[in-house]
Symmetry: C2
Subunit: 455 residues, 2 copies
């Protein structure tokens, strides 16, 4: 009898709690879908600030914008956290191609981030096309020496989750120049990491192995890459690269922007939600990662506007320099370590402002399972997948240095690599409802962790 | 011992079957994501045919296109099924507004489908704004008589599934003119059924109650509706409507386009998959429902290209006249009845070419549960929701007249009512991967039903 009573009481409590959570989830959703400011904030960031590479005046303007937006959202405290960042400069760039005895024609191309250029002087050479590293390695050094290597590796469209296609292809962008320089190549052209049926070249960071010459690297959009592939299969193609890009050695003082709501019961337990404020120097950094910034700010606003008081401190962080250095993420973790802050969770939103589908987690299975008992609450909001491992670049130092459990919002991935790192990553490609639903899922998740002290 | 053996054998069979299904699912996905032609087909339909209202020469051209595309997909048989359709003509239309003593200014507006116009003559009257039917009903007849009623009902953005917002708001478009005419109104203006942050007016079908005068109805996009709302709250606003639209009484001969693959084991058991070929007379009918047409054709192509031979006959149907008459759907069901065809399932795709999230079903719970035992197979493809009731307009006569179990593809709904029935429903708003994944889910679902004889 006693056991039965206990079970009944437990059931009633669970039902009550679940019904209350369900109502709170709805309250959060209604607030953001009806009154959310994240879409308007994104418009301002994209149109008034624009793209904002670390170390540029635009990035400094973005910091000002972020602090203002945090205050408008109702954050209890807003501050800037210093982070010294590298500065890469693109300058003028051009790529011209010619076949046989034809004339050079300019094509649409873009230097990769951190790449060294040609000092503005023309670099002219025959192109050697390979489809992958295996083909490249099979070629003798004399076939490579002095040539421009075209790594014509196609983004695999058969992966349903497009980030798997990106992970698969990105090694050509990241390491291609040093792999090629090792055998004496003069320059590298890559097919962009792109799912797009278009001609937008995609920039993104690359890396030199200091043992080899730092040769320039440029990306082509899919249409131009298709044309070059066709030309190369018919005979020798020549390229004339010219670029001024350069990674300066001086660091520039910049900042993470931080806003927080103090926890009502455990102010010393901190949940960080963030995206990155910097972008590449093209487009408007709308999906990457303006979306994540305005969603993180929206989390604070939603708590304030609904009057839902989280037990834990909730901190929104706009990290600086995710794209080419991660200095903001490192500075945040170092500060947390030196102040002995207790971070129960850090969650990142840096996969685009698309309809949310899940939240990935990197933490112990015990913790994951505890959170997963609540997953059905998210179903009415289209969020069903809690089985992926996911964190985020900016919060990876928190995990690495302080063992903080991390998580990442998982939006629908189909369109991300159409616009990622391109001139087409603009405000108009973001849908207001999809963006807001991402903020809804983040706020609900943070509410849940804090309310039930799940971490 | 014997029981244990039986259980083991059953388990091995289940595991084997599941592993085989999983491989087949992957084969279907790879085929469509890597070699699918649905996106290219959609480009041709949108750009070479364009919008295609029932009864127009463009609709006839679309029928030709459909038959050709079915043959290219490898259908065993392709035929046209006659359906006589109504023909509504838009003609020239304009709406001008003025406040107080100001001058008339033209605004962006669009007559609703099936609406009668003003015979091209100006209809000038003061506007009475109401926010819903309750407000309208509270007004005395003399406040309505001779006026143009502005039903300023906002699409509810708090519904996560946007079709719920559409269902909630569409009664103003559908019945507004007769409701208003009953009290003597001269015309109706509505705020579009639109989630858009823009000024696209949305057309769509309306209906007259023959007991009342057939007064004209026009829709505004959200920006113009916002302006009109502001003007009306300040004082009297006058409208001058002019339109030539008219529903002709003569029916036009048109066709459903049908292609099929004969079942390898049960050719008499038919699974129909379809979308509708007609569109409204604006935009390109890309999401509504060019997407559904090319996905249905892709299902046939995928079976042929992979060599997966369905046990049941699979029939792709491009229905004519979904938008303003449903004559194609009726003709299809009547033909099925008269030929005593055995339809085990009809599934429609008419909710846009967005990332699929689920398949809704209208059939007995026993049948639904049988299908749901396989639902985890769909998870790697982002398809998780098998709990909604869903069929489709074109296949509703099959269900009504012949009790055929029906289903409907459930894509992500966030962007649909931004473009639905507008000049912005164009090819460029469709993402190739999202479109293809919809075709993947349909093909996998049909394979499963046929392979395991689930219906």
């Amino acid at each position: 009898m006693k056991l039965l009573t206990l079970v009944s009481v437990a059931m009633v409590c669970t039902l009550h709690s679940s019904a209350q959570d369900s109502l709170t989830f709805r309250k959060i959703s209604d607030e953001i879908l009806l009154h959310g400011t994240c879409y308007d904030n994104l418009r301002v960031l994209c149109k008034k600030v624009g793209n904002r590479l670390s170390g540029t005046p635009a990035a400094a303007k973005a910091v000002e914008w972020g602090a203002k937006a945090m205050k408008e959202a109702g954050a209890d405290n807003v501050w800037l956290q210093p982070a010294d960042v590298p500065y890469w400069h693109r300058g003028e760039e051009s790529l011209m191609l010619k076949t046989g005895n034809g004339n050079y024609k300019a094509v649409n191309a873009m230097s990769l981030g951190n790449s060294e250029g040609t000092n503005g002087r023309p670099l002219e050479a025959a192109i050697v096309m390979v489809h992958n590293y295996d083909e490249f390695k099979a070629l003798p050094d004399e076939a490579i020496k002095g040539k421009i290597i075209f790594f014509n590796y196609r983004f695999r469209q058969d992966f349903v989750f497009t980030f798997n296609g990106y992970s698969d292809a990105v090694k050509y962008r990241w390491a291609g120049p040093s792999v090629a320089a090792k055998k004496g190549a003069a320059g590298v052209i890559i097919r962009s990491m792109s799912t797009g049926v278009d001609d937008f070249p995609h920039t993104g960071s690359m890396h030199y192995n200091d043992s080899f010459k730092k040769i320039p690297e440029m990306a082509l959009g899919n249409y131009t890459a298709d044309s070059l592939e066709k030309y190369c299969s018919r005979g020798t193609v020549y390229a004339k690269m010219r670029s001024e890009c350069h990674l300066t050695t001086k660091m520039v003082r910049s900042y993470n922007v931080i806003g927080e709501i103090k926890g009502s019961l455990y102010p010393d337990r901190i949940i960080t939600v963030g995206g990155h404020l910097d972008s590449w120097d093209v487009g408007e950094g709308a999906h990457d990662d303006g979306a994540g910034c305005v969603q993180s700010i929206e989390v604070l606003r939603a708590f304030k506007a609904t009057g839902i008081r989280p037990k834990y401190t909730v901190r929104a962080v706009l990290f600086m320099n995710e794209e080419n250095g991660l200095k903001g993420g490192e500075a945040y973790a170092d500060s947390a370590a030196s102040k002995h802050e207790y971070h129960v969770l850090a969650i990142e939103t840096d996969a685009g402002g698309f309809s949310p589908r899940g939240i990935g987690m990197e933490m112990s299975e015990v913790k994951k399972d505890r959170i997963r008992t609540y997953k059905d609450l998210f179903l009415p909001y289209g969020v069903y997948d809690f089985n992926q491992d996911e964190g985020g670049a900016d919060i990876s130092p928190l995990k690495r240095k302080l063992d903080v459990p991390v998580a990442g919002l998982l939006p629908d991935s189909q369109r991300y690599f159409d616009v990622h790192h391109t001139n087409n990553d603009v405000f108009e490609t973001v849908n207001h409802r999809e963006l807001k639903l991402g903020a809804v899922a983040l706020t609900q998740f943070i509410y849940l962790i804090s309310q039930h002290e799940l971490l």
